[in-house]
């Protein structure tokens, strides 16, 4: 541990969002990171499932993705934007069956040798600290095969990070919180 001022700015602990965020956090256009009518729009959708295989209705999902060239958007106005821009960030509340859905674009890869992905964060009642994961794209087999993170994941669990093409310009990405098919969740060194 570094010696300098390690106790000066101690992190604020996380707490659950609880069940009653529904009138506060979802916002109009939240799931539309890219307007659905735009020719480059793709759908990312799926279910949030608990350890009993039940959909989680009081969960929400955030995505944060780079643009088509692999650069994070610096476009201001993630909330109040027109139908033409791309701010990269979206938020979708799960419905009663635990379904969420976004329209966005397929990002470019951010680094040489890595595969494109969307960063995904999951929040909900009973989730004391939100969970991070990544949604890679099932039709990028070659890039996925060389991606450094995917390469480190047990083969038996790697598929949980792959969004599966299920229709034209549509990908299915279920998020399993626990149990069989449990999604690989990521730690960025914030688990202190």
């Amino acid at each position: 541990m570094p010696e300098q001022s390690e106790h000066e700015y101690l992190q604020t602990p996380s707490q659950t969002v609880g069940p009653f965020f529904g009138y506060a956090l979802p916002y109009a256009g939240g799931p539309d990171v890219r307007a659905p009518w735009q020719p480059d729009a793709v759908r990312l959708h799926g279910r949030v499932l608990d350890g009993a295989g039940e959909g989680v209705p009081d969960a929400f999902v955030e995505i944060w993705g780079a643009d088509a060239t692999g650069r994070p958007s610096t476009e201001l106005g993630s909330f109040d934007r027109d139908q033409h821009g791309f701010a990269g960030f979206g938020r979708s509340a799960a419905d009663r069956a635990g379904n969420y859905s976004f329209t966005t674009i397929k990002p470019g890869a951010m680094r040489e040798g890595s595969a494109p992905y969307l960063l995904v964060a999951v929040f909900g009642r009973g989730i004391l600290q939100h969970l991070f994961t990544r949604a890679y794209f099932g039709d990028e087999a070659e890039a996925n095969a060389s991606d450094p993170l995917l390469g480190r994941i047990d083969e038996g669990r790697r598929d949980t990070l792959i969004a599966v093409p299920d229709a034209e310009r549509s990908y299915r990405f279920d998020i399993v919180l626990q149990g069989e098919g449990e999604t690989v969740f990521l730690d960025y060194g914030t688990e202190i």
């Binding site: 700015y9 969002v17 009138y23 506060a24």
Partner: protein
Amino acid sequence: MHPVANQPDLTQGEIDDEIAERTAAEREAAAGGALPSHPRRDFRPYRSTTLRHPTHELVRADPEEIELVSPAFGHTDVAPEEADMTIQHSGEPQGERIIVTGRILDGDGRPVRNQLVEIWQANAAGRYVHKRDQHPAPLDPNFTGVGRIITGDDGSYRLTTIKPGPYPWKNHRNAWRPAHIHFSFFGSAFTQRLITQMYFPGDPLFGLDPIYQSIVDPAARDRLVAGYDHDVSEPEWALGYRWDVVLTGPKSTWMEPEDADHA
């Protein structure tokens, strides 16, 4: 609807015992070293965690560019009036008007500038404007309980609201949440993302609440409690509280340890 969450037969005493047992186990595991700041995800006394925590170890990831920046929220996203939750309707809300202010900093003490803070809470009677909140307390037609703020250049935020009431929540028999305000933060990196709850000093429900007690380190737990600040109070108008927040994340690119292949 959610049988795991609704266990009214379980007594407060049984939950208290589980909390004490878990806290002792965490202390023992830390062996005198630092306790974790964040709650464990599988904190059993909070029953909703039972089916909603991963059972596998999280996989350490090297953050790429998208993880090291945050969405570009800005002043165009939020109207200044959204920082005052007492003026969103034609009448005055019921309850005790309060001011909450503080600074959002990163782990190095640098201000988190021009970033979005979202706020939501129950009204003075402990009732949320949410169709699934069945607590038979009155809704307040003049209080929705939602606010948004963009932090200033010094990372500061300032909020005017109504002190929320405690409310029952069916985790166990006679379970009551301490009064709290929910806060959602974005840092300068997305890995600093934080959603938490701010509590009020001296609440008698702290020791009984499995959500508050899910943070086993008492010092970390205390960091969620705002301080009463008489300099923030406004004469003939509102009591003031100060609450600073520290968002931490990776300071630099994580290097894969050389023995990772054998781990």
